[in-house]
Structures are given as C-alpha cells and as structure tokens.
C-alpha cells in the first residue's frame, strides 16, 4: 500500500514538473511550442514574466549552439578554443535575451501552424501564420527545424515574411568584426554590452 501511494505521489510530482517532452514530428513540435508560448504571452502577464518563461522555452527547443556557430560564420575557424568557449557562453545569454525580448512584444498572438516540408534529412520547414489584428497585418512565419536527431527536433531559424533572423544576425556579427579590423574581441564587447542593458 505504501509502495502504491509512493508511486502515485511520484507520478503526480513527475507530471507537474516542467519536464514536458515535445513531439518528434516537426509540425506537431512547433504547434506545441506555439501553444505553450500563447499561454505565456497573455496580455495580463508582465513583460518580465513573459521574458523569463520564453527563455525557458527557448532553452529547451532551440539549437542555441548551432545558431551561434552559424552566426559566427567563417570567423569561427580562426578562434582559439578559449575564444570559442567564451563566445558560446556570451552568445547563449545574448540569444536568450534577444529572443525573449522580441517575442514578449506580442500579446495574445494567434498563430496557425499550416504545414511542414522536409528539405532533406536534416531540415524541415514548418510554415505558420500570425493572424492579423486591428493594428498589425498578418505575418508569415517559417520555422527551420533541425531534425538530424529525429527524436529531438530543434529550431535553428525563424524566417519572417521571407527574412531570416539567423542570416540577419550573421551579417550583423560579420559587420561588427570587419569594421573592427577582424578583432573578435570587439564582438564580445558588443555582446556583453547588450547583455548588461
């Protein structure tokens, strides 16, 4: 009897913990993320609450390391292991802050996940639309989902109305490095300044 009570308590504890496993199907995966985000982005929630919880979602569902490598582009080949390690730490903090800040501007978003198209075994594009409101027109949002591990898909890019956020980020980082005589430390300084804002 004691054992049964213990199992029940354990199950309840397990279910109420935030150890939600997302679907391995890319379209369903994005649908679940969108549904989770909608609950956070309720208008009555504070900006701080939204940002904190969006960061939690981002940590679980995005390939931050992969995005960081992509945005550094050709410059990652010239970094020492120490610099690469420092970059990864800074980039994760920068990414989480930037990501949650951008999304927390939306309140009560209505997003329809429409379809998924596998580009190749590693990438699937999931198409969705942010429905229009009185103030804003509809927005087409495509999600680039990394599916190398079929059991654990991860987001690598958001393409909003044909504009890739990751590509924009990459060209932004390249501009900072190139305009400072290829000095990667200047990029680190800019990232620290952003994180500290």
């Amino acid at each position: 009897m004691k054992k049964k009570i213990f199992i029940v308590i354990f199950l309840i504890f397990g279910l109420t913990q935030n150890c939600f496993a997302y679907s391995s199907d890319p379209k369903q995966f994005i649908t679940e993320i969108v549904d989770e985000a909608k609950k956070i982005l309720v208008a009555s929630n504070s900006k701080e609450f939204k940002e904190k919880n969006l960061e939690k979602i981002a940590k679980k569902t995005t390939d931050i390391k992969g995005i960081g490598k992509y945005t550094l582009g050709k410059y990652r080949k010239n970094l020492t292991d120490e610099q690469l390690n420092e970059y990864e730490i800074l980039f994760e903090k920068y990414f989480l802050k930037s990501f949650s800040s951008r999304l927390s501007d939306y309140s009560d978003p209505k997003i329809d996940v429409l379809s998924a198209k596998a580009l190749n075994p590693k990438y699937t594009i999931v198409k969705s639309v942010l429905l229009s409101t009185k103030k804003k027109p509809a927005l087409q949002i495509d999600w680039r989902v990394y599916t190398k591990n079929p059991e654990k898909p991860l987001i690598r890019d958001l393409i909003v109305e044909g504009l890739s956020l990751a590509r924009t980020q990459k060209e932004e980082f390249a501009s900072v490095i190139e305009s400072n005589n290829q000095d990667i430390n200047q990029l680190f300084i800019k990232l620290r300044e952003f994180i500290a804002k």
Partner: protein, 270 residues
C-alpha cells in the same frame, strides 16, 4: 520618354561594370554576393553617417506623424491604405509587363479596375473578396533584377534610406514608368477641367507622402524591436533590405527558396 528610358538602361549597365571595379571597406567578393545575399558597400563610412541622420529624422518627424496617424479611426487608415495601394498598383502593372509576367499584369489590371469602380476610387477592396489576391509590389529596380542586372553596391540615401546601385537607378526609372507621376506632372487641371491652369504635380507628392506615413504606422513595433535588439543596427537594416529585395526579385512565395542552405549544411551539433 523612350529615349530617357534607354539612357537609364545604359547608365545602369555602365554603373554595374564600374561597381565591380570599385573598392570598398569591409566588403565581400562580388562573386559571392548572390550566394551570401550581400552586396559590396559603396562608401560605408558615408552611408553610416547618412543612416544616423535618417534615424534622427525618423525619430523627430516621421515616427511622431505615424503615431498621430495611428490615432485615426481604423476605417480611415484602411481606406487610405487601400487608395494608396490602388494607385501604387499602376507602377506594379507597368513592371509586370516589362518582366513578361502577363498573368500578373492581368490580375493587377483587374484589381485596379474593380477597386477603382466598385471600390470607389480604391477606398474599398472588393477585388480581394472576389479572389484576386493582392500582388507583390513591383518596381523598376526589381524589373532590372529580373532582367539579370546585378544589384551593384549598397549605400544609404538621405531620407529615402537603403538602396543599391541598381535600385537607385530604379527609383529614377519609376518616375518615368509610373502613370500616376506622368499624369500629375503632365496634366493641367483647373476647377476639374483638364487643359487649363496649373499642373497638379504636388498631388503626386501628397500620394507618396501618405503612402510613406501609412507604411511607417504599420511598422512602429517591428522597427522598435529591431532597434532594441540589434548590436549594429546599420548592418541589420542592410541585411534585411537585401534579403527583402532578393526575395521580391525571385518572386518566390516560399520564403526559404531564396535562402541558400549551404551555410547550414556544414553545422552539425550533437
């Protein structure tokens, strides 16, 4: 008018040839520019200064006007946007034809006809409800891109904002190809009677100004988000501008078809 058009084309080709030879700061090779969706900078230092000027001007003038416009009733804003969009479709129509997109031209012409008549000078948009979807806006810069003219170098114009060598030539071409410009600059109207009195060219600038304010009002939050989350706003705007132009010239509805996957392919994580 045809002679002016030919001169513009010759200038565009000449400009492209010279841009290939031009030096620039912190630039990527022209060979890679299409693959990497970037363009050489013409004069980055000057462009950055002009960018700062435009940014200050936007904060001081355009954004406040756009916020004021937003306070108007939604029906007024929608109607205004529709009228501006309807007039703008004439330039799209001209460029549909020049690009050989006759199906698109037919749809654009149909929309204009329906919205101008049934839609009462474009205030309403019955064409969309009848199944004629809004076309992508076309301009002469895109047309030259479709013809194979390379973008050339990137720079920033005062007030008008980011552009490339090709698109700057396109801006000039637009004035000759835009029926609205031609009518307002070449028509005398007095008391509603064509043929006597003053030119109505100021109406063209009212129409363009209204369109700019309508656009700015629809993008207040995205601009703020971009500004707050960029570590180099100039570079972000440049990237977004070039991606947007590339997508429009490709005319792809599937956004990812305009983006090369090459960079992503080599990045594997556990």
């Amino acid at each position: 008018m045809i002679r002016k058009f030919v001169y513009i084309l010759i200038f565009a080709i000449f400009l492209q040839g010279n841009i290939v030879q031009a030096g620039s700061e912190g630039s990527e090779n022209l060979k890679n520019s299409k693959q990497n969706n970037s363009a050489n900078e013409c004069f980055e230092g000057v462009s950055r200064v002009i960018f700062k000027f435009n940014y200050a001007l936007d904060g001081a003038i355009f954004e406040p006007i756009a916020k004021g416009y937003r306070s108007l009733p939604q029906s007024v804003r929608i109607g205004t946007g529709n009228v501006v969009g309807n007039l703008r479709s004439l330039l799209t129509l001209t460029n549909n034809v020049l690009q050989g997109d006759f199906r698109g031209a037919g749809s654009t012409a149909g929309r204009f006809a329906i919205n101008t008549t049934v839609g009462i000078f474009g205030i309403f948009d019955p064409a969309t409800k009848l199944g004629l979807a809004k076309p992508q806006k076309e301009d002469f810069g895109q047309t030259m891109g479709v013809w194979g003219v390379n973008s050339g170098c990137y720079f920033v114009l005062p007030i008008l904002g980011p552009t490339t060598a090709r698109d700057a030539v396109g801006l000039i071409g637009n004035t000759f190809l835009d029926p609205v410009y031609q009518i307002t600059h070449n028509t005398e109207i007095t008391n509603g009677v064509v043929g006597n009195g003053n030119y109505s060219e100021h109406n063209y600038y009212y129409y363009r100004g209204t369109g700019a304010i309508d656009f700015r009002a629809k993008n207040i939050e995205p601009f703020n988000s971009l500004r707050n989350n960029s570590i180099d706003l100039y570079a972000s705007v440049k990237s977004l501008y070039l991606q947007d132009r590339n997508k429009k010239i490709s005319d792809h509805e599937t956004s990812t078809e305009t983006l090369s996957d090459d960079d992503w392919e080599e990045i594997d994580t556990d």
